[in-house]
């Protein structure tokens, strides 16, 4: 089966800071759950930017759902983005809109017919377990709840892959675990998930495939946690 997301010998260099990624190749299958591990600065965020085509690789090729980094046009990027769900450590919610307005906003700006928006928003908020807090503003929500809103927003266009950039980085242990379970649940319904984290314990417990980046290079692609534990400890 062909991967829905494939990087082939991808190198990304920045004019000032040099190479952020070096010769990275991997593939993700439909419905897979993959961790992206590594220290801050190892290239995780760069990798996610390349996948969302916010940036183009210096060399090599990124292929996402039929779009290729070498040939995608500026007009096609929004189309690709609608097939991706993206979640960040800092949630990136709009502070002056309620939870449901935040989710609805994503539907409105992608041209969803008005009548479909309300039911879809309430279904998504229910899915992430926030139906009762729909009218709360972000500042009235806990970190975990805010991330749930962000996840609901990322799901509005039924993405085939959810990219999560350290989604639990700002959360306590309980909230972290709950978010992880939510992502697993979403994954179980067929959406591939790529979750960047430096929470080794989480990776260890889950026994799932992970990609380890170190200084821009892909040093591991598999489930060998012992190595990751040693690497992360050594660097700390």
């Amino acid at each position: 089966m062909a991967g829905i997301l494939r990087l082939k010998q991808v190198t990304k260099e920045y004019p000032r800071s040099g190479a952020a990624l070096r010769d990275v190749s991997f593939e993700i299958q439909k419905g897979e759950f993959v961790f992206l591990a590594g220290h801050s600065g190892a290239g995780k965020s760069t990798l996610l930017k390349l996948i969302s085509m916010a940036e183009r690789p210096t060399s090599g090729e990124v292929r996402v759902s039929g779009y290729t980094s070498g040939s995608i046009t500026a007009r096609e990027i929004p189309q690709l983005r609608r097939r991706l769900g993206i979640v960040f450590q800092d949630f990136r919610l709009l502070a002056d809109r309620t939870a449901e307005q935040n989710v609805a906003f994503a539907l409105e700006v992608t041209g969803t017919p008005h009548v479909q928006i309300r039911p879809k928003v309430s279904r998504l908020l229910t899915q992430v377990g926030l139906a009762s807090r729909a009218t709360a503003y972000p500042h009235e929500l806990s970190g975990g709840e805010q991330q749930r809103v962000a996840i609901a927003r990322a799901l509005v266009n039924d993405p085939f892959v959810l990219l999560a950039d350290e989604p639990t980085g700002n959360l306590d242990d309980r909230a972290t675990h709950a978010i992880f379970l939510l992502l697993r649940e979403i994954n179980a319904q067929g959406t591939a998930v790529m979750m960047a984290t430096h929470d080794v314990a989480m990776i260890q417990r889950s026994n799932l495939r992970f990609l380890e980046l170190d200084n821009g290079q892909l040093v591991h692609d598999g489930t060998d946690v012992a190595r990751l534990v040693a690497d992360m400890r050594g660097r700390r």
């Binding site: 969302s52 916010a54 940036e55 500026a74 007009r75 929004p78 189309q79 690709l80 983005r81 609608r82 097939r83 991706l84 993206i86 990136r92 709009l94 502070a95 002056d96 906003f105 994503a106 409105e108 700006v109 992608t110 041209g111 927003r153 990322a154 509005v156 266009n157």
Partner: protein, 286 residues
Amino acid sequence: MRLAFREVALAFRRAPLLAILGIVTIAFSLFAFGLFGLVALNIRVALHEIEDRVEIRAFLVNNARDAQIEELMTGIARIPQVADVGYVTPDSALQRARAELEEFQDVMEGAVLPGSVELRLKDGARDPATMQMISRRLQTYAVVDEVRYGQEWVEKLYRIRNIAALAGSVLGSVFALVAVIIIGSTIRMAILARTREIEVMRLVGATNGFVRLPYLIDGMLKGLAGGALAIALTWGTNELITRNLLTTTFFSREQMLLGIGAGGLLGLVGSWVSVGRHLRHLWRDA
């Protein structure tokens, strides 16, 4: 589209002071433009009135024969730029002089004035070059003694008019540029204030056009409002001048609409440039 207007309304509600400031600055730059336009307009009206009075007068030799005069008149009738022509006999010239210069009645006793031909030119043919050409042509007739048309006058008028037109277009473009820059920076502020929203829009896959539209509408509305306010200010000033100094001509309805439209266009151009530049930055970062 509806969403775009809602976003514009929301932006206004969120930062009404900024929006008003933007509109007022646009209004002031267009107001300055409008005042100049008013001056130019009134110069033009005045010139037109003066021009209307400009005529060529050919004085005839004494004891001109009827046949000669007839020949001159048919010659003049063949000149296409001539609107109308009249012959003033020596008698009527004297009568006219007596009427106009009553104080000098005595001096005119027994005086003989030459007969003359007066011709008025058509609209648009009253420029110095045409007048000179016609005057030369008249001088070729033996019956014509001297031709007068206030050469200096006409040339001076035209020079004033040309300077006014030039100054108008130079100042006009400067003010237009200022308006574009002002609108551009208010839009820039609006974009910076909404970085987060734009980031989210891009993230979830809103098209570029969709992200731009609210700012373009915003800029255009501000330009239109600024234009309307500028017209109001100009009208107020005009009223003040008319009441206290001299009667002036104000813009026609079409000219006013054109002014408001120009404001809208400037707003659109300003926001277009600004949106293009600043969104590209955001695109790269997010």
